[in-house]
Symmetry: C2
Subunit: 546 residues, 2 copies
């Protein structure tokens, strides 16, 4: 006798996801996913969002997961669809974002025929997923989906995983599925031994201890615990180099980010490095005569773990009654004249609204952003985590779906924008409140600098290869239904940014800026006073403003 | 003692590729490839072409390899760069195109640190490559490159492979490399036993034999041999469903393509199916109540092999002195009035220039193209081989680099265009003679039809998910420096197509067409008289015209 509530496998998977609070599906489906799409249409409390390219879908799921602490799902079309999503799944994996991929496949009996779209999905999925399963029985489809949700480990930011469920077409269309219950994931407890060890180390060596915050600890509560510790003990606090999400700004403790080119200086004198949700820092790339590890020689490294509670317990031991040092509200002065990356950062700092979510993939043009916005009203800052460019626009899209009542600001380099520009179309279709600022410097500026580091022998032909002339982002944005304007002065950027932030729906501002000249111009400290300037930077405001 | 000609590993790889006639490198590089980029700049007889997304680079290498019978190389940035190129490598694998991927990786000593861009490149590469190797010694880099070129098996279209060489940064910058000689790949000999077997089968059963041509055999010489056989014996000749490249048109024998929805009819009465460079036909996707194989039950399948010489030998035995039947030059009449997909095909047929290379990813809007161009002046026709959409524009780009003196016409659906639209920028930068016609029907029309096949229960919400409103391809193209015009009538399409074909450099025509209504409207035979029409098709020309 069959139970009354048997459904198609596709329905069983969808119902299971809904039981666990999965509320958004970012997709570019194909024929093998049509039964799932059909069920999606009647599952009214699952928001289905079409992306015109799978890198947009996986990046959007990353942005969504960073903001809501539970997974979105993607629905992807066999190996090539998953392949197109690999780069942003790589970033999501590095971010610790919970994501559940549903990847359609040929019907089980069809696979042996090696049809044109046949490929090794399982091997492909394994390169970006902590958990991979292929559904082999309709009756188990719901259970597989439940296990997949559990495998995303979606308790908090920074500790989630990518899980991939491969769903052959016959498992989707077959009848006999049943939604499965999902057991809630429990919060891991802090490791008491580690808490005591770290407390002891701080007590003995505090001025020579650096606590490196990462993941969930870069949100408000983690920063507060760290700030209390710093005040009470004199320990240094730093943030990992590529945080998935930071809560920052006025009313929240400031934490300086570790920057590779200045890491030696930032970590000088550190005898004990405490990792709190962060990983031991390494250089992004190897260089012929430089060590890969950024940890000073002879420094002891201790892992406290990724839970906020652990750092809070250390703070409660060493800093009872001590209050965190909160950032006051100040903004940079409004600059004027021809735009530079430095001035654009000041404009952003002058206007960033309270509660904004910033998706930052501005690369070299963004070097000044962190400092110029450090004392703005409280906001979230999402960073490129895995180095696979093309993250910024889809992450902005996903964050806007997750938080429809908050303004989203996507600060975006030209080269990386061209990877996943299709996200603009989805922003327009869904009416999402995303303002995109493209820093158009007509080049892969960071690569030109990397090339020049190879020495004086570098030839003009190689340099020319890394230039990006002739891109008109206003025209590109309008072609996808997103209103857009081009600006070349600080005043015009300010005017357009004000207008755009005041209006609902997406818009794009193309900011024409000169390419940053050299790594030597990279600002190195969090203090506004010490910010380096670049060619053309006369006309900066005398801030603090507002 | 070290030999005088030691170089960096990167230089050794590049020099080896040049020795073997690899003349084009489609790339989007990163820091780990900068030594290679630096060497590229001084290697003046290697054309380095920047693509703004790796799917463009791999698709371009596919288009290039289909036209020149030797591999282009790609230069890609670690796992995410390769990941972005996976979908078009999948298509290239299905096309049998020789491609050599050079994928940069972290320096060997850096890998253990699990830096942000670290991922399992080897596993990823294995999903799309027949050959994968990681260089582990600078001294072997040249030899590795030589083996990689050999592994592409680049003798002829349709029998090549994707080979991937993973080159860690220290293998590129290290000194001690030496270019290696490459042994030429020899043409495989026809299998004499198979030739005799096929000749015997044809002699006994010819009216019930169908020869299915694929790969290299869809070029002129293969078609000629097949046509001689058909004339002499009465055997049926068909072309595989998704050919990588066809030489076709006036002066070349016509070969009807096998189409899945009409395969039963096309293969009716076939007792012996001879595979000549083709694979046994299967349905693209499985359906709940349909067999996967398109081979009629009880039909014997015999593989003749992928060499033209084998079929020629069969023809020499059975059709000595028989001439092939060549297509005469006729064009469809010029249609008028509001544009439909059917009329657009007729306009293309009326104007297609001699020697054109057509990159066809028009999907449903392209159903009428094959017939309307069958009797045009001789041209090449490149088809989507692996079902991973986003192939058409990069393949057009690569074909234009391979054949700078020939006009390239990219017939492109809107949905698939949005996958790899960045190819337009490279077409503009390189001044390539590509005319792109976008069939904008504002939907994933094929998916809407697939959805409707799921039965009457299909809901409006699911259907709406598959619509693509608001794309303005004129604006998108201009944003990348490609001149563009929008047309909505047959007359305007004709005018713009004439103009565009007469001018050098890229241009784009956005053709607004209604979505094809149903699979039932798909034309089923190669005869122009039997072409089905669709909604709005009044105003077709009365052709044949010039």
């Amino acid at each position: 006798m069959q139970p009354m509530n048997e459904t198609t496998g596709a329905r069983a998977v969808l119902d299971t996801l809904r039981h666990r609070g999965v509320e958004a599906c970012f997709t570019n489906p194909g024929t093998s996913e049509m039964h799932f799409v059909s069920e999606l249409g009647v599952q009214l409390d699952m928001r289905a969002v079409l992306c015109l390219f799978e890198g947009g879908a996986t990046g959007a799921a990353d942005g969504y997961g960073r903001m809501v602490d539970r997974p979105a799902c993607t629905l992807l079309h066999l190996g090539p669809g998953l392949g197109n999503g690999v780069a942003n799944l790589h970033n999501a994996r590095r971010a610790g974002t919970p994501i559940l991929n549903i990847v359609g496949d040929h019907a089980t009996h069809h696979k042996v025929f090696d049809a044109p779209l046949e490929s090794d999905i399982d091997a492909l999925a394994s390169t970006v997923s902590r958990w991979v399963r292929r559904t082999t029985s309709v009756g188990e489809a719901g259970r597989d989906a439940a296990d997949a949700v559990a495998a995303t480990g979606s308790v908090r930011n920074g500790t989630g995983s990518v899980a991939t469920l491969i769903l052959p077409a016959d498992m989707g269309w077959g009848v006999g599925g049943r939604a499965a219950a999902v057991s809630p994931v429990s919060m891991p407890e802090p490791d008491r031994g580690r808490v005591e060890e770290v407390a002891l180390l701080l007590r003995r060596h505090a001025p020579h201890v650096t606590v490196l915050l990462g993941g969930d600890l870069l949100k408000r509560r983690g920063r507060e615990a760290a700030s209390r510790l710093a005040t009470a003990t004199g320990a240094r606090i730093l943030a990992e180099s590529s945080p998935a999400r930071q809560e920052r700004g006025a009313g929240i403790p400031e934490v300086e980010r570790l920057v590779e080119v200045t890491a030696a200086e930032q970590l000088a004198g550190t005898r004990v490095l405490v990792l709190a949700g962060a990983r031991a820092p390494v250089s992004f790339f190897a260089s012929p005569r430089q060590p890969s590890s950024l940890v000073p020689l002879g420094t002891a490294v201790v892992e406290l773990g990724a839970t906020v509670a652990a750092l809070q317990e250390v703070a409660d031991v060493l800093a009872p009654g001590v209050n965190p040092v909160l950032v006051g509200l100040t903004r940079p002065g409004m600059p004027s004249g021809e735009l530079t990356a430095r001035k654009a950062a000041a404009v952003v700092g002058a206007l960033l609204p309270e509660g904004a979510i910033v998706s930052d993939e501005a690369v070299t043009s963004g070097w000044w952003l962190a400092q110029e916005t450090a004392h703005c009203p409280p906001h979230d800052w999402l960073t490129l985590t895995g180095g696979a460019i093309g993250q910024g626009m889809p992450v902005a899209l996903g964050a806007a779906v997750a938080c429809p009542d908050r303004p989203v600001l996507n600060l975006q380099a030209d080269g990386s924008a061209m990877y996943t520009l299709q996200a603009l179309w989805t922003q327009a279709r869904e009416g999402l409140n995303v303002t995109t600022v493209i820093f158009n410097n007509s080049s892969y500026a960071i690569l030109k600098m990397e090339l020049e580091r190879r020495g004086p022998s570098v030839n003009e032909r190689s340099k020319k290869l890394l230039e990006l002339p002739g891109l008109d982002f206003v025209s590109l944005a309008r072609g996808m239904g997103v209103p857009a304007e081009k600006v070349a002065t600080a005043e015009d950027l300010a005017q357009q940014l004000r207008r755009s932030l005041a209006e609902p729906g997406p818009s794009l501002i193309e900011a024409i800026v000169p390419a940053v000249a050299s790594f030597r111009n990279r600002p190195t400290a969090s203090s506004l006073d010490e910010i380096a300037t670049d060619v053309g930077d006369e006309g900066l405001g005398t801030g603090p403003g507002v």
